[in-house]
């Protein structure tokens, strides 16, 4: 069995179900499996933003959830908050807020972020209470496990796992090489 030996590949390609920034026609697709409470993902968030500024329309970026719930007690709820914002077309705004405030992911903060983004807070809170986004987050997690995600953050460049670092230079080099 060579599945582990080969450079792991994304088993579920980016599609309409994904949250994507950048044009669908971009030559490079960067996919991140991340956890909003993971400090390494917080660091990677800045790198990704810089890479997107530099590469511009020649890349697109998709974010999938990989919450490590047993070590990050707020990670699952934060992922649900991003999805709940997503149903009101504010996924990326919430995604950015969560990564910019990784030490403030408790429910009262999530509700404040929802209000700041002018979401329908009642609907947002109801979706968190009833955990309607859990299956979707689980789908992301499973696709990650099947694709060789072994920790967070894990990136894929055009469907192939990026095994280098996630500092600006490493990510920029990996994305540029795929252009």
């Amino acid at each position: 069995m060579s599945a582990v030996l080969d450079r792991p590949r994304l088993t579920v390609p980016v599609s309409a179900r994904d949250h994507v920034r950048g044009p669908a026609t971009a030559p490079v697709t960067l996919v991140e499996y991340g956890d909003f409470e993971c400090p390494f993902c917080g660091a990677a968030h800045n790198s990704v933003n810089h890479v997107m500024q530099i590469i511009g329309d020649r890349m697109r970026f998709a974010y999938r959830h990989f919450p490590l719930t047993q070590i990050h007690p707020h990670a699952q709820q934060a992922a649900e908050a991003a999805e709940a914002a997503g149903t009101q077309d504010r996924f990326w705004e919430m995604h950015d807020l969560l990564f910019e405030h990784q030490d403030r992911l408790g429910m009262q903060y999530l509700l404040a972020y929802a209000a700041a983004l002018r979401l329908d807070v009642e609907r947002f809170a109801l979706e968190l209470d009833t955990h309607v986004h859990v299956p979707r987050i689980r789908e992301d997690f499973s696709s990650g496990v099947r694709s060789g995600v072994n920790g967070t953050p894990t990136f894929f460049v055009n469907g192939i796992r990026h095994d280098g670092g996630y500092d600006l230079e490493s990510l920029l080099t990996a994305v540029s090489a795929a252009l």
Partner: protein, 165 residues
Amino acid sequence: MTTTEYPTRALEPGTAAPGFDLRSTPDQSVSLADFGGRRLVMAFYPADWSPICTDQMSLYNEVLPEFKRYAAELVGISIDHAWCHVAFAQHRNLHFPLLADFHPKGEVAQRYGVYDDGTGMSKRALFVVDEGGTIRWSYVSPVGVNPGADGILIALESMAREKAA
């Protein structure tokens, strides 16, 4: 004194899984026989607390429900003492047993052919054992590489398919 009675490479699929009886806590033991009739994933790893082992065990902790869906149990095995395992498992909130291959040191790893004499630790190795106690998949990862869970899940999936066929 020598390890010649032990396999020099990781045991291959088709081999009967060697028995073991190891402490999971200072006053509890876990043996291979405890898993009779269940599938078992055995994850040998070098050491509690080291960064890659921590990531690997944390990942398996999250994937545990998927393993259980395939009727598989999971154990981690290293040469650390049971007290060390208890602290590590509590710190990372692990929900599966960590077994102490502590005394005689690394003996179970040696029986499975995955002891590293140079470092005095186990290699980073995975075994999937079927309901009858036969190894169905094994893999030794470079020690610095977290092997993830995809190989394990593929193995469990193919075992489930065979059983259904």
